[in-house]
Amino acid sequence: MSISVKTFDSAAEAARALIGDRTARFMGGGTLIMRDINEGEQSFSTILLAKDQALKQIHARGEQIVIGAGVTMAEILSSRELDFLHPAARSVGGPAIRNMATVGGNLFAAHPYGDLATALLTVDASLVLAGGEQGMPLADLLREREREPRPVVMSLTVTRPQQRAFRFKKVSRVKPKGVSLMTIAANLPQQAGRISGARIAYGSMGAAPMRVPAVEQALEGKTLDETGIAQAVTVATSGVEPPTDAIASTWYRHEVAPVHLKRLLLERAS
């Protein structure tokens, strides 16, 4: 099968073409799809592109920031509004990859990728789809992202975290460009010195990035110190079934997750 490429003016048209064609893939930056093509992946033979400028926009409305799905990691890194996402964007690949890899692509990047998506889970990301649907929580998409036909994401809306509330850690064996053994994002808003509305997400600890409700609940109303986080560390992998892959085994991920979580929680906010 030769590969055909179809280019559309709007993402909505591309999304319609995607629905009718199982052999088509919508391509963002191409860091994953072009690799598949180079390796002769047989599951698709058509690439859909969209020249839609809306995909490339970043704009803030108060505490809400809308990020186009075609925004690259490099563009996040050059955006002042998205400064809290810089550590996550910087953890993706090297400079060449960051110049190509998009926000939208990261949402569909299979394990062990998806570091940015892990971060986005903690800032209440909701999606606008190319078909017009709005407000779909990112977690819902991640849970069912393998299901065909895959939606085309237009943009995400995130809520800027409180000052110094956001933390991010990507644990990898090779530095600085290794894939993730475990990625942790934490949004820890505080009221009067106590955590209120904690959001914790893990990457590379399951089929897709996920929130960790057990840890979030254990942190509620607690202080960010050794005693305050003790319960959260105990339940670090509660409800989590980490995979075994070339980087680490299930056992190993279970063992180290509490350690990395504890370090992140006790890290002094910079």
Partner: protein, 572 residues
């Protein structure tokens, strides 16, 4: 980083006018690399270049019932399907160029596959994509066989036979044993005299060389019925010789052009891509390119093999190791490639850089249903070094000694006899250890600071001890007798060997390990041993006579040459 030279240590031993070390040297190829002008094999593209891809086994171990290429052959761009029967001489072993080992591996396997990724068929097409699509359309009917992935499991009598050439799942050493032996002195007697016995099990996983440029070759027809081949090989004439054999052509019809190797580290000596590219070129008359993609490089490209080692040391309370016994298992994967040789090399390295008067080693080259292993930077030595040095730390802990002092007390000194019967020369471990301890601010005691590689060696330490030999592990014995190797148990009494040559030290020269001098070198007391009597029968145990010569063997094949652990490459 500044370099500090300690030329004073060996000033009278060698000319230390170093021309390169410590001086800035520009790599000869760096200008081409940083300016993007280094020529790689893949830069030699031809008009009408065809592309080769392999159908590969998805199973560890399977018999091939049938291969259906009908759909693939009809696909657009497909020029040629290459089957096992198209390979003129489809059976080879890499070291056959040195007459070491028997042919055991096809270039294309259509009867049986013994590892995931083994090539079953190749397809030549106009584009890489078309070749890949056609590969995906080939239907292979496999009868999955039981597989074995662990070296010790592979030695069990009921283990599946991985490689028909070696039905015992072990390489045949010296046409006689299922393992490579090293015998020096009498470890069992020394164990009985030791203050402590320390045992360890060590294991190393395979390591992929991971070159940036994957293995590949481009072949094209040349004038005068020759073929030109641009290749990534690390070993140009090795690849040329291997190709000539597999394709049954005279080597002067092959024009190999190397150039820049885009990273090799041992992963580009197996010569699998060149024969395939040239064969495709022969069969189509067109230029052909055969390149592994990254997953192939990782899955099919031969890694440094896995190793497992059992070590048993007999140690005196003052830290002297008086006996060391090894049982090693090299995981060759499904085919020999270079693992057999790695073991020869590794055996010559035992027992590490230490003067240990009694050493015994059995090392097995084991076939399993894993990716065949091959060369990688110091292969054969690095793995067992990890085992040895980890064991040294364990010994230091057991006798309550500084790990650096333990190494100093046991280190080779000039004039000492190594276990493979070569004299130690230019030794420097003691000095290195002293400097390392000093630099690391990890102080050692004065007596250890005063020790030197130059003094205290030789003499009694240069003696070749009377050596207990045995006939254990004859080829096939293990499988038929159902005795798996037991690394930590005492060997059964040695079968008497043919009458040894007369001149040999008598058993009464057995050193006394219990009462050493205050510091090494130890001086054995004679004649009466103070320790328990040796376990071996007193009258004339099998002896070795001369250091450089192993016991005379029957020359069975004229002109047959092979490696020996103690004398290198020999012609018989």
């Amino acid at each position: 980083m500044s370099v500090e030279f300690r030329k004073d240590l060996f000033a009278d031993e060698r000319d230390d006018n170093l021309n390169e070390i410590g001086k800035p040297t520009r790599r000869q190829d760096i200008l081409g690399h940083v300016t993007g002008r280094s020529p790689f094999y893949d830069d030699h593209l031809f008009e009408g270049l065809l592309h080769v891809r392999c159908v590969r086994s998805p199973h560890h171990h399977a018999r091939i019932r049938s291969i259906d290429t009908s759909e693939a052959e009809r696909m657009p761009g497909v020029v040629k399907v290459i089957r096992a029967s198209d390979v003129p001489n489809n059976f080879n072993t890499l070291l056959s160029l040195l007459n070491f080992g028997r042919d055991d591996e096809p270039l294309i396997s259509d009867k049986k596959v013994a590892y995931i990724g083994e090539p079953v068929l190749a397809i030549v097409a106009d584009t890489d994509r078309q070749a890949r699509d056609a590969v995906a359309a080939v239907r292979v009917d496999y009868q999955v066989l039981p597989h074995v992935l662990d070296v010790e499991d592979a030695l069990k009598p009921d283990a599946p036979v991985v490689n028909e050439t070696y039905p015992n799942n072990t390489f045949d050493y010296h046409d006689k044993y299922d393992h490579q032996k090293l015998r020096f002195g009498d470890v069992e007697t020394a164990f009985s005299q030791a203050d402590k016995i320390i045992e360890g099990r060590y294991q190393m996983s395979p390591i992929e060389q991971a070159p940036i440029e994957t293995n590949g070759a481009i072949a094209a027809p040349e004038t005068n019925d020759r073929f030109v081949c641009y290749t990534s090989t690390q070993a140009l004439f090795f690849s040329l010789g291997t190709t000539a054999k597999l394709l049954n052509v005279s080597s002067n019809r092959l024009h190999f052009i190397g150039g820049t190797v885009g990273g090799g580290f041992g992963g580009k000596v197996d010569s699998l891509v060149e024969p395939m590219a040239i064969l495709a070129c022969m069969l189509t008359g067109k230029p052909c390119r055969f390149v592994w993609d990254r997953p192939e490089e990782m899955q099919v490209g031969a890694p440094r093999g896995a190793e497992r080692w059992y070590l048993k040391d007999g140690v005196m309370n003052d830290g002297r190791i008086i006996a060391r016994k090894f049982t090693g298992y090299f995981d060759a994967g499904a085919y020999t490639r270079l693992s057999s040789y790695a073991i020869i090399k590794g055996t010559a390295h035992l027992p590490g850089p230490y003067t240990i008067p009694n050493v015994s080693s059995d090392v097995f080259c084991v076939y399993t249903n894993r990716t065949p292993a091959t060369a990688m930077r110091g292969f054969g030595v690095t793995g067992v070094d990890f085992a040895i040095e980890s064991q040294m730390d364990r010994v230091a802990q057991a006798v309550g000694m500084h790990p650096v002092e333990l190494r100093i007390v046991n280190a080779y000194r000039d004039g000492d006899m190594k276990a493979h019967r070569r004299e130690a020369k230019n030794c420097a471990l003691i000095e290195c250890a002293q400097v390392a301890a000093e630099k690391a601010s990890w102080p050692i005691r004065d007596e250890f600071k005063r020790m030197s590689s130059l003094h205290g060696g030789g003499g009694e330490r240069a003696r070749i001890p009377y050596t207990v030999t045995d006939e254990n592990g004859r080829i096939g014995e293990r499988r038929s007798g159902g005795v798996a190797p037991r690394p930590t148990t005492v060997l059964p009494p040695a079968t008497p060997a043919p009458p040894p040559p007369a001149v040999a030290p008598t058993p009464t020269a057995q050193p006394d390990y219990a009462h050493p001098a205050a510091a090494p070198p130890y001086t054995p007391l004679s004649p009466a041993p103070l320790g328990p009597p040796p376990a071996t029968p007193q009258p004339s145990p099998p002896l070795t006579k001369e250091p450089a010569e192993p016991p005379a063997r029957q020359a069975n094949r004229p002109g047959y040459s092979r490696f020996a652990s103690n004398s290198g490459f020999r012609r018989r």
